[in-house]
Amino acid sequence: MNLFTLDELMVIEASRYITNGDVVMVGTGLPMVASLLALKSHAPDMCYVVETGPVAPDVIPTPTSVADARVMHRSVTNGSLIGALGGILHRGLADVGFIGGAQIDQFANVNSTVIGNYSNPKVRLPGSGGANDIASHAKKILIITRHELRRFPLYCDYITSPGYIDGPEGRKNAGIPVPYPDIHVVTNLSVMSINKTSGKLTLSKLMPGISKETVLSNTSFNPDSGIPLQEVAPASEQELKTLRDEVDPKGIYIKRV
């Protein structure tokens, strides 16, 4: 078996949720790494869209931000923010939206704005950026984050980007254009996916060597629905090689073994 870290497998597993041909709205950080891996491996025809404007670039590893020339390389157009977040995403053309976040709650709502009270914050975070737009309009939402107790509260301190809000009809009741999207949360311990009947995150896969108890003790809500759990498929030689040699060759985002 190939030697890999769970951080590497987290990115690899997240990339597997992107299908060749998908239009993918990508933020920065780990979502960018996972999307780039999909682009350089099994989804060469995915349309990578960046919120600053670029469409379908041949991304040069490893961009530092959505304003990096590396995300404009050989794009079909470099476009505008309204062209990307408006003309593609709000228009309903994004198959996948990929975001991160500081807190993710039981309904897959995401907080990237504030820890504590909004008007009297304990820690002020960067804010929505394009994340709220992405979570409101993409047909499928992918969230990637490291699995720590503080990142998975029962309720977010502040809902920046919508999951299922407060239950199965939460998005529909709020008038969000995509009422029942698939949502997958991929972490270094597990994969949790939205159960559309309850509107809540349900544990579906465990990372190799990780027990259900470890996931539960790092999650403030109970994502266990009693369904049989799969193990995340290990990283293939090809996936690892692409991630290490092509996507993040300097180990900027993902540390090596």
């Binding site: 920065t28 950080g29 960046v50 919120e51 600053t52 404007g53 670029p54 040069i60 530092t64 931000s65 959505v66 304003a67 990096d68 020339a69 590396r70 404009m72 390389h73 470099n78 476009g79 505008s80 923010l81 309204i82 977040l85 408006g86 995403l89 709000h90 709502n109 704005t113 909004y118 008007s119 009297n120 914050p121 304990k122 820690v123 002020r124 975070l125 960067p126 804010g127 929505s128 950026g129 394009g130 994340a131 709220n132 737009d133 409101s136 309009h137 502040y158 809902i159 920046t160 980007s161 919508p162 809000i165 939460g170 998005r171 009741n173 709020a174 008038g175 969000i176 254009p177 900027i252």
Partner: protein, 307 residues
């Protein structure tokens, strides 16, 4: 040769003195590590123009400097962020200490507010932010800029109405402009075109001033026509340490230096402002203190490999 549309070329010092007044709403161009008008942000700090409201999408170190110098009391944006280099620390600290009011929006919401301003329409609908605290957690004072209404053609379907936003003045860095303000932005434009067209005044800093004849011969490249522009500043490296597509890469070393000062705050941050901005006559003097010719050439070379 001057143009019949008027020569708008001036120094950063003159443009900021003339067009950025105390209490203004200032539009901030660029995003994160790319194409921010650092030359104009520096000049605002150097002249100490205060009580500003800074508006934009993803606001970067240009915003952070003005906030860190204590010259802004409000921001309206999608995020304060320098991505791989961390958050905008002076902004974050000002919010945490209650010295700055942040009005939070999604990026598309900000972009559409500028678009509405650019079209002269009073408001614009959007279907983002529904169901979230971006709508719910707003104070009484600020709630008036966002209204949840009903789609007139689809009863019982909620829609968010955003008030148009027209900054008093915007500061935008571009690759090229002629002396009348026909501007060429290369690479991503983010919200800059809509914001410029919505603004009452626009100051453009650019890498190079080109002849109006060159604009007219390839006018499909014009991103912002002269009608919207009040001042043109030629400042090579005017976006440094952020990048300028086709010209130079961002400077990671200076970013890290700025971020470490901004994160620490206090004397260390004041020393940065004093050394590089308050203690310099202009942006060229800043550049000579912040970098050297060899490093700058490397940033140019590095960009050439990416385009």
């Amino acid at each position: 040769m001057s143009s019949k549309f008027g020569n708008k070329v001036m120094t950063a010092n003159e443009a900021v003195k003339q067009f950025v007044a105390k209490d203004s709403v200032v539009g901030i161009g660029g995003q994160t590590t790319g194409r921010s008008s650092m030359v104009l942000a520096h000049e605002i700090v150097r002249q100490g123009i205060s009580n500003l409201t800074l508006v934009g999408c993803s606001m970067s170190v240009s915003m952070d400097l003005i906030v860190g110098a204590g010259l802004a009391n409000k921001t309206e944006c999608g995020t304060g962020n320098v991505e791989m280099f961390g958050t905008t620390f002076a902004w974050r600290r000002a919010i945490e200490q209650g010295k700055l009011v942040s009005k939070d929006y999604s990026h598309l919401s900000m972009g559409l507010r500028f678009l509405a301003g650019s079209l002269g329409i009073p408001f614009i609908p959007i279907k983002s932010m529904l169901g979230t605290d971006l709508l719910e957690q707003r104070s009484e004072k600020e709630s008036k800029d966002i209204v949840i209404s009903e789609d007139p053609w689809n009863p019982n379907t909620p829609v968010v109405l955003l008030k148009a936003l027209s900054p008093d003045v915007s500061i935008i860095h571009a690759q090229l402009s002629d002396e009348t303000g026909n501007v060429v932005i290369e690479g991503f434009t983010t919200h800059d075109v809509e914001m410029a067209k919505a603004s009452k005044r626009v100051i453009i800093s650019c890498e190079k001033i080109i002849a109006s004849d060159e604009i007219r011969r390839r006018s499909d490249r014009t991103t912002i026509p002269y009608l919207y522009v009040d001042a043109v500043i030629e400042q090579p490296w005017g976006a440094y340490p952020t990048s300028c597509y086709r010209y130079y890469e961002h400077d990671s070393a200076h970013f890290r230096h700025y971020q470490s000062c901004a994160k620490d705050g206090g004397n260390k941050y004041e020393e940065y402002l004093n050394l590089y901005i308050r203690g310099t006559r202009d942006f060229n003097e800043f550049l000579s203190k912040a970098s050297n010719a060899k490093d700058l050439i490397n940033l140019q070379k590095s960009m050439q490999e990416l385009v």
